[in-house]
């Protein structure tokens, strides 16, 4: 149990680290807005935006939400289950959504 107490109070990153992560987040946001301004092809733009947003989400969860400093067991319980559930929603929605897009363009 003494081990438990220690892990609650350990250092969780420095101000410098947080500011660095924040600058990255702001920079990626800037890039996303630039993409919105450029008006690329919808498919390409959606892919880029989703990838960039996932990078931002990963940065927030890893550093701001301290998941990097928790035990691996918490990460393994929280992240894969969430990804699995979102994939399940996607599997049910995607084929139908793509079919809708095809019906529309014809």
């Amino acid at each position: 149990m003494s081990n438990h107490e220690e892990s609650e109070t350990h250092a969780v990153g420095s101000t410098r680290l947080f500011v660095t992560v924040w600058i990255w987040l702001a920079a990626i946001t800037g890039l996303e807005v630039f993409l919105g301004y450029e008006r690329l092809q919808p498919g390409l733009m959606l892919t880029l935006l989703v990838v960039l947003s996932l990078v931002k989400a990963a940065l927030i969860v890893t550093y701001f939400m301290h998941l990097k400093y928790e035990k691996l067991s918490l990460t393994l319980m929280v992240i894969p289950s969430t990804i699995f559930c979102i994939c399940m929603i996607l599997i049910f929605f995607m084929p139908d959504a793509l079919r809708l897009l095809q019906i529309r363009t014809h």
């Binding site: 609650e8 990153g13 947080f18 946001t29 931002k56 897009l101």
Partner: protein, 209 residues
């Protein structure tokens, strides 16, 4: 009877004797809530994409100026409040109560500013004829999904502001400890994280398909 409880099966991390995740129950509860909330927002954003693809005349009222500029300012404000939140949590871990409270109040202020800008945008849209049940183009699904998602997010921000104010005042009065500040931080970062998907999916993807 008590001697038998010290065998290997009960002293393992998963037997209930020790915390397997080495975090306290408040933090664990918040993580579980955030997982379920992630799925709520994921389902809503996917439903938005679906109804958008299903409607050829989907309204696109978000021009670069003023809508996307406004949403970008909102994003930066929310991002900035995340930074003050994380610095507040650090200060709380160092037992620097006055600094932590100040950072928490800054964070709550960012949330209030976000809400004000968002509501202002909503009222502009109302004035242009976009409501939760109708649009000028006759696509009520746009109103329902747009105001549904951003409204749910705004509710999260508003609850977050109230939560942060309670934690800030309680922590200042020493009713709460640094763990409570950290748990409120988890919630606040999650609200920020959700907006990092709402902003590109709804505002930036407001292009011709």
């Amino acid at each position: 009877m008590h001697e038998t409880k010290t065998d290997a099966s009960l002293s393992s991390p998963w037997a209930g004797g020790v915390s397997p995740f080495a975090i306290n129950s408040k933090k664990f509860g918040m993580w579980l809530f955030l997982v379920s909330d992630t799925l709520t927002f994921a389902a809503m954003l996917l439903a938005y994409s679906y109804v958008r693809l299903a409607n050829p005349d989907w309204p696109r009222p978000f021009e670069i100026y003023p809508a996307i500029l406004n949403a970008t300012v909102m994003t930066v404000i929310l991002l900035f409040s995340s930074l003050t939140m994380v610095l507040g949590v650090s200060a709380a871990h160092r037992n620097d109560r006055s600094k932590a409270v100040r950072y928490l109040l800054f964070t709550a202020g960012g949330g209030i500013l976000f809400d004000i800008l968002h509501l202002r945008e909503w009222f502009h849209l109302f004035a242009e004829g976009y409501t939760p049940w109708s649009t000028p183009q006759g696509v009520p699904l746009f109103g329902a999904s747009f105001f549904g998602i951003t409204g749910l997010h705004m509710t999260h921000v508003t609850i977050g502001v109230i939560y942060l104010l309670i934690i800030a005042f309680g922590y200042g009065k020493k009713n709460f400890d640094s763990t409570d500040v950290e748990v409120s931080g988890l919630y606040w970062h999650f609200v920020d994280l959700v907006w990092m998907f709402v902003f590109p999916m709804i505002y930036l993807m407001s292009i011709k398909l």
